[in-house]
């Protein structure tokens, strides 16, 4: 096997082969495997991570198809059923907040809207914002991290202090205070009314993404600091490679693993952050559902209708937990030094 300078295989092939030898416990034939094959093998053996992966994919699929489900009339998140909430204080009638064959998780007090449908569409909002914000963080963080780590010197110092500055801001407070100004500005750039969903989504993505980028930038910078001294970088440089090639062709391929791990860890943090924002009243206009907004309303019903609080709370819990476990599993699988 030839090892071309700058190819990602170069870093871990030796270890992978070595591990493989251990794994098959002294077998004669040494089989070469690509790192991705090894990662897949490790993942398949890790049951918890597999469950988390399946759950995460299920949630993502559900969230992605909810507009289609609503259009087909399979779920109707905005349809009210006043006749189902004629209890005192407009509480749903029946056990567990009005659970019935039509409404699997019961209905919302006050309006009788189907809770399952609202949780699914709420997940769409939450995941859209969280995913876009994470992607935003990854892109900005990677670029700044590579530049900072590779350039060194004054540029590095400036960028690092900037990251420290961003990290020290209380992001939730910033979101709340920036909302009034920024949403209008974004709406006028997008040429949409400020009450429409796109400017509000854009606002949350930009602000959440902005406050998340230093996490990625720091990891990337650390990796780049060690990578830039490696022979293949040296070789590329002495062959006269331009900066752009060094950054994106030589360095970037070595950064995928930590980035992937951090993405799966930051994503659930962003899901919780979006839910917290909805809870505080920032977010999309009704009747669009969001997990945070549902929880915000449900808190006051925690005593008379605990199911209304329990189901959306459980959803957020499972959603965040599965992405977190997936991230943990991926980190273990991608880490050549982990003892498995």
């Amino acid at each position: 096997m030839t090892i071309a300078p700058g190819q990602p295989e170069s870093t871990s092939t030796d270890i992978a082969v070595a591990l493989d030898v251990q794994a098959v416990d002294g077998a004669v034939a040494i089989q070469g495997r690509s790192p991705w094959q090894i990662v897949r093998r490790r993942l398949r053996r890790d049951r918890v991570t597999m469950v988390a992966l399946v759950t995460s994919i299920f949630f993502i699929l559900l969230a992605a198809t909810s507009p289609l489900l609503a259009a087909l009339g399979i779920i109707s998140p905005d349809l009210t059923h006043p006749e189902l909430v004629q209890g005192l204080g407009s509480m749903p009638e029946g056990a567990l907040g009005g659970v019935s064959p039509q409404h699997w998780l019961g209905v919302e007090p006050g309006t009788g809207r189907d809770l399952l449908a609202r949780i699914i569409t709420g997940m769409t909002t939450s995941l859209t914002v969280a995913l876009l914000a994470t992607i935003f963080s990854v892109i900005v963080g990677t670029v700044i991290g590579i530049v900072s780590g590779f350039a060194g010197g004054r540029v590095d110092w400036l960028l690092s202090r900037f990251m420290d500055l961003v990290l020290s801001f209380p992001s939730t407070l910033m979101l709340l205070s920036l909302q009034a100004v920024l949403v209008d500005r974004i709406a006028s750039i997008m040429q949409q009314p400020s009450s429409a969903p796109p400017p509000k989504i854009a606002f949350m993505v930009i602000v959440l993404g902005f406050f998340g980028f230093p996490f990625f930038a720091r990891i990337v910078r650390g990796q780049v600091l060690s990578l830039r001294e490696r022979e293949f970088v040296e070789a590329a440089r002495s062959l006269g490679a331009k900066r752009g090639r060094l950054y994106f062709k030589e360095l970037l391929p070595h950064l995928w693993a930590p980035l992937l791990v951090y993405t799966t860890l930051v994503l659930p943090a962003n899901i919780s952050a979006e839910a917290a924002l909805g809870f505080l009243g920032v977010g999309l206009n009704p009747p669009t559902a969001s997990l945070g907004a549902i929880l915000n309303d449900a808190v006051s019903y925690a005593r008379p209708d605990p199911a209304y609080f329990f189901f959306p709370g459980l959803t957020v819990f499972v959603l965040v937990l599965s992405f977190n476990l997936l991230g943990d599993g991926l980190r273990d699988a991608l880490d050549p030094k982990s003892g498995r």
Binding site: L88, G110, S195, S300
Partner: protein
């Protein structure tokens, strides 16, 4: 008329419905219930008041919140007139010897101040103190968030910019004008107005505009939490708006000099900063000090089932009419709503039932078609377009089609955002959409009334608002909300959020003011109410109701319907 209502200027507290909501007191000519028997009340004990807070202020000239004015009047600040504690409260004299004498067609009022009222330091309450109290309302730079009727009515010239030539007792500018309009000769107070003010003695009972103030104790804006008492209670130590304070007996108050206050508890402890859900959990649990506790915040709908399922709580619960009316006002300047037929269709497609259900059901609200509260004399039973309370979306669609309007018609409705109102407006939207509209909802949390009255909101098609009459008359409903001449300016719509301007309505209001007979005058306000609704100028939704629970050792728990619908502290007892 007056510029402010509580929600408009100060509080963006949001969460608590009753305390932070609109203006002042409202009246009823009908029911006032009493949950506990009036017998057996005795002096002594400590009453606890549990509220969400923070408290807006204890200075009556800086207060426009119904519950705050009622507590102030019953505990430490006597007004010229007040309301009795009867089941059907009546207007009675308090610091004045009688209800005042009106002459000159309502332009001159005379009151004689009683000679046995005393301040907490033993000095007598004089006519000069009353006059000084009234003068404070002119210091708009220091004394804020209170009623400003005096600036508009008292016979004092205005400057070129429309503000009063008198700038209050602190600046002193224009003092000679005030001294001419308000005079004291001995204990007789004489007030001169520019225009007739026939129900002035009701205004002095509901609002603290002419409550006495001691010049040597006045700290202007710093008096907000440092009241000087002439009632049965005085503040012990400092009052923290976020935490509350303790009131003890005023040794210089003489029960014999007071026509209305019984002052049973020895001590009243005001506790602020408790979430409504927690307040009601504590009141229902009824343990320790909470046995002697009441609250001024109405029970949130999520608490109603718990109240019903708590044994014995029904004896400690009261469901009473509240002064506030929720309404939606279309903006007559937008392309969609400038068409009266569109406004009619919008009104017809309004589903009051869904709104009520989303807010917690019939214990929380009752539907209405009139802006004037059902318990007031200006109420008239009418239905402008014959639509049922659940709305008539089919009829609305037909009206739009007949008018040649392309449907669905895109409109934006703005409302004050809370988790409950998010649901209520989503429910309204459903029927509006069925009726041929495509409604975009826009919830605003911060400084709601100030925001919707700004020119930036002129493009929105309709606004939610809530209003309670300042005193029991249509004159505190129609002109403050729909008189375009006093409301609409370049920089603000003030309280006419929908830019409603109708010469016929304005003329009718001018005429109504001048009707001498009270009953006929209130009927005239009722006709104006109907006139505006028929023009699609406003869509009244509901009359709010309060549900209160009190601790088991509280006696004489009764609400005063003319005084905001809150527990009347004049008669309450804990022994």
């Amino acid at each position: 008329m007056m510029r402010t209502k509580k929600g408009a200027t100060g509080v963006a507290l949001g969460a608590v419905v009753a305390l932070a909501a609109a203006a002042c007191s409202s009246g009823t000519s009908t029911s006032t219930g009493s949950a506990s028997t009036a017998a057996m009340a005795a002096k002594g004990g400590t009453l606890f008041i549990l509220n969400l807070g923070p408290h807006n202020g204890l200075d009556v000239q800086q207060s426009y919140v119904g519950a705050d004015l009622q507590t102030a009047n019953r505990m430490y600040s006597r007004f010229l007139t007040t309301y009795s504690t009867d089941a059907e409260p009546k207007l009675i004299a308090d610091l004045a010897t009688d209800l005042g004498t009106m002459s000159d067609g309502g332009k001159t009022w005379k009151f004689t101040i009683v000679n046995n009222a005393k301040w907490q330091d033993g000095q007598a309450v004089t006519c000069e103190d009353v006059k000084y109290g009234g003068s404070r309302t002119f210091a708009t730079d220091k004394i804020s968030n209170g009623p400003t009727y005096t600036l508009q009515f008292l016979d004092i010239p205005t400057d070129a910019d429309g503000s009063s030539a008198y700038k209050g007792p602190y600046a002193g500018t224009g003092q000679e004008h005030y001294d001419k309009a308000v005079t004291c000769s001995g204990s007789t107070l004489t007030l001169k107005f520019k225009t007739p003010w026939a129900d002035f003695n009701q205004a002095t009972a509901s609002l603290g505009i002419f409550a006495p103030a001691r010049k040597d104790k006045d700290q202007a804006d710093k008096s907000l939490f440092a009241p000087f008492s002439n009632g049965p209670y005085m503040l012990e130590g400092a009052f923290d708006p976020a935490k509350g304070g303790t009131w003890v007996r005023n040794p210089n108050w003489d029960a014999a000099s007071d026509p209305v206050r019984k002052a049973y508890p020895d001590k009243i402890v005001d506790v602020e900063g408790i979430q409504p859900e927690t307040v009601y959990q504590r009141l229902l649990a009824d343990g320790g000090d909470d046995k002697a506790a009441i609250t001024f915040g109405t029970a949130p709908p999520s608490v109603l089932p718990t109240i019903a399922s708590t044994a014995g709580a029904d004896k400690r619960t009261m469901n009473v009419p509240a002064p506030y009316v929720d309404y939606v006002q279309p903006n007559v300047t937008t392309p969609a709503m400038s068409n009266p037929k569109v406004r009619q269709a919008f009104a017809m497609a309004t589903n009051r039932d869904a709104y009520i259900t989303a807010n917690g059901g019939p214990q929380v609200m009752i539907p209405t078609y009139a802006l004037c509260n059902k318990v007031l004399d200006c109420y008239k039973d009418f239905n402008p377009f014959g639509a049922p309370t659940a709305g008539d979306p089919e009829g609305a669609k037909k009206v739009l089609a007949d008018a040649g309007v392309t449907t669905p018609l895109n409109i934006t409705v703005v409302y004050r955002k809370t988790a409950t109102r998010d649901k209520a407006f989503a429910a309204l939207k459903e029927t509006w959409d069925k009726g041929g509209f495509n409604v975009t909802l826009e919830g605003i949390t911060d400084r709601y009334y100030r925001t919707i009255s700004s020119p930036a909101m002129k493009t929105k098609d309709a606004f939610y608002a809530s209003w309670g009459a300042d005193w029991p008359s249509g004159s505190t409903n129609m002109p403050p909300l729909f008189d375009s001449r006093v409301n609409l300016t370049e920089t603000s719509t003030n309280q006419d959020y929908g830019y409603y301007a109708n010469d016929a309505v304005n003329k009718a209001m001018d005429a109504a003011y001048l009707i001498p007979d009270v009953a006929a005058r209130e009927r005239a306000w009722a006709d104006i109410d109907e006139m505006i609704s028929k023009d699609g100028g406003v869509i009244p939704l509901v009359n709010q109701k309060f549900t209160f629970v009190h601790g088991s050792s509280v006696k004489n728990f009764q609400v005063n319907s003319l005084f905001g619908g809150y527990a009347d502290l004049a008669v309450i007892a804990v022994k």
